[in-house]
């Protein structure tokens, strides 16, 4: 499975990762190699097999819809490069 540089750019955008133009080809090569490796799965007919998302097919545990967390906003925001009035600041989004 060979990925073109256009496809790599598209995936990079989906993943919101900037890749230098001079590195795109190398990524295309590496990713194509990995896809070739995983392509081996296609030899097996798995039409009657149920997919397994959890090792023991465990279901999501639920809890009552009650507030159990204390407000620690200041503590948790201490790691942010830019906060104001309890909000995280980013470059302007709305034109």
């Amino acid at each position: 499975m060979s990925l073109s540089t256009a496809e790599v750019n598209k995936i990079a955008w989906l993943g919101r990762i900037a890749i230098d133009a001079d590195k795109i080809e190398a990524y295309a090569r590496d990713l194509s190699g990995i896809l070739d490796f995983v392509e081996q799965m296609s030899v097996l007919d798995t039409r009657t097999v149920a997919p397994m998302a959890h090792p023991m097919d465990q279901a999501q545990r639920l809890r009552l819809d009650l507030v159990t967390e204390a407000d620690q906003r200041e503590l948790f925001q201490a790691n942010s490069p830019s906060v104001e009035a309890g909000l995280f600041l980013v470059p302007k989004v709305i034109e």
């Binding site: 995936i11 990762i17 900037a18 392509e39 081996q40 997919p51 809890r63």
Partner: protein, 483 residues
């Protein structure tokens, strides 16, 4: 003191042969002396350790102590430690001070253990050699030109070089077992759900498990006792009573049925390693075990399935690192898209980026069925293979890795060649089963590890099986001369 096991140190502390302060100071000095060479630690928490040691000594004299009180442990830098940098081996989190403790860390704190520091690792736990860390590679204490294995390379190197008596690791595709094998120590990946993942930075949520790394099975049992158990804060934590892992360590192995999967002994396995595994199995026969060949027919697809599932889950888990709330943010972002793409482009290393990209691709529209869904089906088949095997045998044994520790740079050119070093360990994570590695000899002067795999929640049995072997052999006692 550093040649004593955790069990021996615990005895020494309780018998007042030395204090936790003396013990901790001793290990901190050893770390100062050797860490530049090994690069095992990213952060050394000496002030905190000494404060914890003093508290532990108080608990020891007032009798409010348990086995791990006063014992120095080091934490893989994937576990959040309150007030202390938690880097996950990445530039992305180089500036991240965790605002809370992971449950695993909290449990060690409550037991009165002392934290020496945070251990180096492959970036975001992605790697098999500790070469992808932002903080530089970790060296194998047996040969500093060789890798220690990964991703828990710092943990394995610290224990092997006796600069920490025990360390935590995490294992998603072999990251406890393989470095344990490369460094000649004992490590255990528990059944999925046994150890809480709260505060353990996520790589692949359906595969990740934290576990102990130490020099003996006995020590791993002591550490696991503290780490294991239901945690409400982890929705994948299993709610079942925790066994007393140390209680059955000395049970006789008479009648133990061992299975050797023929797929583990095929091409690609170093013949020296195959020989050592067979010698180890022969020791088990002397202890009363029986051996038979079993088959895990879908084993050859474990690599392809894993390298779809794990990157897919990682692409989702690492989406949180966006430069907004914590972690690396690029300079002068011109708009939001630029903030995201450049922060992530700068903050993540090449292997992490590769895996996020593959994960993004296999989950994207039009490809989900062919890749991710297909991999989940292969996963079911692999689990069924193990289920079948465990109807005929109690434990499965085989090599942990197809080779001994390789040289730095040897597998860096082609990602696939690095992925192939996980060939024996990966299936265990896909199935969610518990697995251990213990040292069984040397090849080319480097340690060789044997893997033991058990059925779900059979950690007590695995530890017993490893312990009995360690009672009649001495590989786990060997230490690298340089340290």
């Amino acid at each position: 003191m550093h040649n004593k096991t955790i069990a021996e140190l615990a005895q020494g502390l309780h018998q007042k042969q030395f204090s936790s302060l003396e013990l901790t100071t001793h290990f901190l000095q050893r770390i100062q002396g050797h860490n530049k060479r090994l690069n095992a630690f990213v952060t050394i928490t000496d002030e905190l350790a000494l404060a914890q040691a003093k508290e532990a000594d108080d608990r020891l004299s007032s009798g409010q102590s348990n086995t791990l009180t006063g014992i120095p442990i080091a934490q893989k830098d994937i576990f959040c430690t309150q007030g202390v940098r938690t880097s996950c081996g990445s530039k992305m989190l180089d500036n991240f001070i965790a605002p809370y403790n992971a449950t695993v860390v909290e449990r060690f704190n409550q037991a009165g253990a002392v934290m020496l520091g945070k251990l180096n690792m492959d970036e975001f736990a992605m790697g098999s050699s500790n070469e992808t860390s932002y903080y530089g590679p970790v060296k194998n204490p047996w040969d500093v030109g060789a890798v220690p294995g990964g991703s828990s390379g710092g943990s394995a190197a610290a224990v092997a070089s006796r600069i920490a008596p025990g360390a935590t690791g995490t294992d998603t595709g072999g990251s406890i077992r393989q470095p344990a094998a490369f460094c000649g120590i004992t490590g255990l990946k528990p059944t999925y759900g046994l150890v809480s993942r709260w505060g353990m930075i996520a790589f692949a949520s359906s595969l990740d498990q934290g576990g102990p790394m130490a020099r003996t099975a006995e020590d791993c049992a002591l550490m696991l006792q503290t780490m294991a158990g239901f945690d409400e804060k982890d929705s994948t934590s299993v709610n079942r009573p925790v066994a007393d892992f140390s209680a059955t360590l000395n049970d006789s192995l008479k009648g133990l049925r061992i299975g050797l999967p023929k797929e583990f002994f095929g091409e690609g396995l170093d013949p020296d390693i195959a020989k050592l595994i067979h010698e180890a199995v022969a020791e088990y026969e002397k202890l009363g075990a029986t051996v038979k060949e079993v088959s895990l027919p879908n084993m050859n697809l474990s690599g392809p399935a894993y390298y779809v599932v794990a990157p897919a889950e990682c692409s989702s888990n690492l989406a949180r690192f966006d430069g907004v709330r914590y972690g690396h943010r690029c300079e002068n972002p011109k708009d939001l898209a630029d903030l995201y793409t450049r922060s992530r482009g700068e903050g993540f290393g090449a292997e992490v980026k590769r895996r996020i990209l593959i994960g993004t691709y296999v989950l994207s529209a039009g490809y989900y069925d062919a890749y991710y869904l297909k991999a989940q089906k292969i996963r079911r088949l692999i689990s069924e293979d193990f289920k079948q095997a465990f109807q005929e045998v109690d434990v499965i044994m085989g090599p942990t890795s197809p080779s001994v520790a390789f040289r730095f740079g040897e597998k860096s050119a082609d990602p696939i060649s690095m992925y192939l070093s996980d060939i024996y360990t990966i299936a265990v994570n896909l199935a969610g089963l518990p697995g251990m590695s213990l040292p069984v000899g040397f090849s080319k002067n480097l340690p060789v590890g044997m893997q033991i795999i058990g059925d779900y929640f059979s950690e007590s049995r695995l530890l017993n099986v490893a312990h009995e072997y360690q009672q009649v052999t001495g590989w786990h006692d060997k230490a690298p001369a340089e340290f």
